[in-house]
Amino acid sequence: MMKSWKLWVVLGLIAGMVGLFAFGFTTDPYKVQSPLLGKPAPDFTVKTLDGQTIQLSALRGKVVVLNFWGSWCAACREEARLLQETHVRYEQKAKTAMVLGIAMNDTPEQARKFAEIFGKTFSLALDNKTGDVAFQYGVYGAPETFFIDRQGMIRHKVIGAMTAEEVAKQMEQLTGEN
């Protein structure tokens, strides 16, 4: 009796371990869910590269695509065009959203050069030396992109370069257009 009882415990533990690791295959260890999802987006004020002052809370009523990037970041190149398209479609034409890029760990010169090469014309600003804005959003690399709804709530976060489908899905949901 004792014997079989112990055996089942052991077998159960093995099965549990295998199950756990099998689960491990389904998750990406590099993906950490942000605790900010569903929470109000922390407010901040930044100065853009062309001298405008932007305060996030003043953008209520618009969907904000907040993109943390850097001119040194390779994956940021991949999504530059996508962000620009989003800017043209939703900000310039539909005027329902705004794309805001915040460069981290960067110089204005480098950032401008990057924007020029990759044709970014949307609002770009530089985070300060101590990374205050990035810290507010728990950013730990670039690119990271936050989708903020009209009420100023963070709805979605993407780590790494975004795909067109991902952006389209979020924008449709948040702006209610398609």
Partner: protein
């Protein structure tokens, strides 16, 4: 495949290398005109306290290193953020809570002793205490039994005097190495 792709993308974000990578980003950063930002002043506070706190936070892009140990730019900024938070008069716990609110529980190097995290702390201790108790019981029982059975020899269940003598001799030989 997508998993790998993303991982690779990530790896070029902050040069993730644990080992510094400071000339890469660092040089660029040091070259930053300090006056570019009005904010971003690093307050001077009790450094020992900063380091103590930094040791409890993980560098999210490093391998096993704390914000204290790591030399990457992100960790530098995080240390600055700790300084800023301390300068705001926050307690140690409040500083840690602030980090947790932005980066998730992931940022803490050891799990909080509440909820699920408590389990991680309790299980090893419980296993050890259980083991000691069990060991104690087994030994006590054995000792009692050996006393009952052969009070003078202390020889457990080996009543055979020849065997008994051999064991004693062997042990003595073993002890003295002869």
């Amino acid at each position: 495949m997508t998993k790998m792709g993303q991982t690779q993308n990530r790896s070029v974000r902050f040069p993730r290398n644990v080992l510094g990578a400071l000339v890469g980003i660092g040089l660029v950063l040091m070259a930053l005109p300090l006056a570019a930002q009005a904010q971003g002043v690093i307050p001077s506070v009790d450094e020992a306290r900063v380091m103590r706190l930094a040791d409890q936070l993980r560098c999210p892009i490093c391998q096993g290193q704390s914000v204290k140990e790591s030399d990457v730019f992100l960790s530098k900024q995080m240390r600055d953020q700790i300084r800023i938070l301390i300068a705001q008069g926050k307690t140690d716990q409040e500083v840690l809570d602030d980090f947790e609110a932005r980066y998730g529980e992931f940022i803490l190097r050891s799990p909080k002793p509440t909820g699920m995290g408590l389990l991680a702390w309790i299980l090893p201790v419980a296993a050890l205490v259980g083991g000691v108790v069990w060991l104690g019981l087994v030994l006590m029982r054995a000792q009692r039994r050996s006393r009952l059975e052969s009070p003078d020899a202390g020889g457990g269940e080996t009543p055979d005097p020849q065997t008994e003598a051999r064991i004693a001799r062997d042990l003595k030989r073993f002890e003295e190495g002869l």
